[in-house]
Amino acid sequence: MLAVRDVAVRFGGVAALDGVSFEVRPGTITSVIGPNGAGKTTAFNTITGYLRPTRGEVTYDGARLTGLRPSAIARRGIVRTFQRTSVFPALSVVDNVRVGLHLSGTAGLLEVLLGRRRLRDEETRLARQADEIVEFVGLRHRRAEIASELPYGEQRLVELGVALAAGPRVLLLDEPGAGMSAPEKGVVSGLIRRIRDQGATVLLVEHDMRMVMGISDTVIVLNGGRVIAEGAPAAIQAHPDVIRAYLGSASA
């Protein structure tokens, strides 16, 4: 179980997170919502090691993640995507995913230089896995195309493929549906459900309330760096503080 305990992050005078605690139950889709600037991305950055909290800690299955580098956290099965589209621009779709499979490979320098036979088997396995993932995110027809030349929505699917390739036990998605058309969002929702059904835990940041309320098992609401509500989607939609936070930000 992923647990965030009393985490605070300050940027100069701004308290981006101010004593945030929550737990993410394994096997669920848990969403983090809140108005712009609420601290959602900051929470993701803290969990995945891109930021050091000024206070508090993040643990996974009881082991401390805080203080580890992002690559070490990924090694423990906690993998994130980025709010701003983030692919390996000059690489093809399938090569993007192959980079994502980094941790599934084992080849070291000497083995590579000596060209061991075992390596060829590993490369074959990785190539097959990459193809399966490309297929899973629905980009088979784009397989060999350069990632930066794809339309925006498909680049977001490439990102999802890269993250999935890393074999996440907990997958953190930062606004995977942002800038997508309604049908594209439907596809992403479907993928997220399938990812959860295959056993991964999903932590989702998303502004599209229809998508959030449709797929989440639990919703956590952040506002001004604090958790103001947590519960099932229906309860959250009726929560007076949540309604106030959203109306407040909408009128601002």
């Binding site: 580098r69 990924a74 621009p89 980094h102 070291g108 230089l113 990785l126």
Partner: protein
Amino acid sequence: MRRSGRAVAALLALTLPFWLANPYVLHVVIMAGIFGVLALSLNLLLGYTGQLSLGHAAFFGIGAYTSALLTLRLEWSFWVALPAAATAAGLAGWCIGRLALKLRGAYFVLVTISFAGVVSLVSINWMDLTNGPLGLPGVPPPELGPWSLRTKRAYYYLVLAAVAASSLACKRLVGSRIGRAFVALRENESLAESVGVDVTHYLVLAAVVSAGLAGMAGSLYAHYTRFVSPEVFLFTYTVTMVIMVVAGGKGTLAGPLVGAGLFTALPEALRAVTSWQWQMLAYGVLLVLLVFFLPRGIVPALTAVRRRS
């Protein structure tokens, strides 16, 4: 088609000293080969991880001095001195990597430049070890069983083997998860980290392998010219390497070799036909034209043309 092309190239390379008997031309070819190894080595860093080392001549020089000193002072065999030279340069690459790659970008460039400056100063001033500016004459040629590789023809085959081995090493590296990690760091470092690519580990690894290859080239150079002086650390060597990699096509396997061939042969060809001033001018104009018309390099441009046809 590609396979038969490659077979012809291999045949040409293997028989070259027999139909290219002119020793001067053979000399140029040997130098092109040594620079080819250097360009391959720089390309690992610049082309694949995206880090510019402007101190690459330092690794070349460390390799040259290590090999020269081990064979001259300790009378080691060339065949032991060569890997030792690569190891010494690789160690230097490791230090530079640990030191500079935490900062990266412009800082890495600066640290590599200063490192080359420091090593060059050491070679000039540590008279007891390096003989200072006078350099080390009489570096022995490699011995292979009863033969001594002192002829150009024999040395050509040694360099050819080194180029082939370096190319193979780069090819295997680039086609592996290690090479993919290098490229991932060049393309998008934070995304690479998010899927478990350890930035420091892979950048240092690239620096070590790159420096090691450059050290090997240095050893080949020392035992070919049989003389090593602080000139091996000249900044122009580094600049030449960068030009070769960029003009040939950084981030490709063939690019550095094409660049090395072109930019070793070109100055020699120009020297034969015009005076020094015109040489520099022609060289400069060609560079500008290349950057202007083939910004990604010769090999990527050729690949694009072939794909279109």
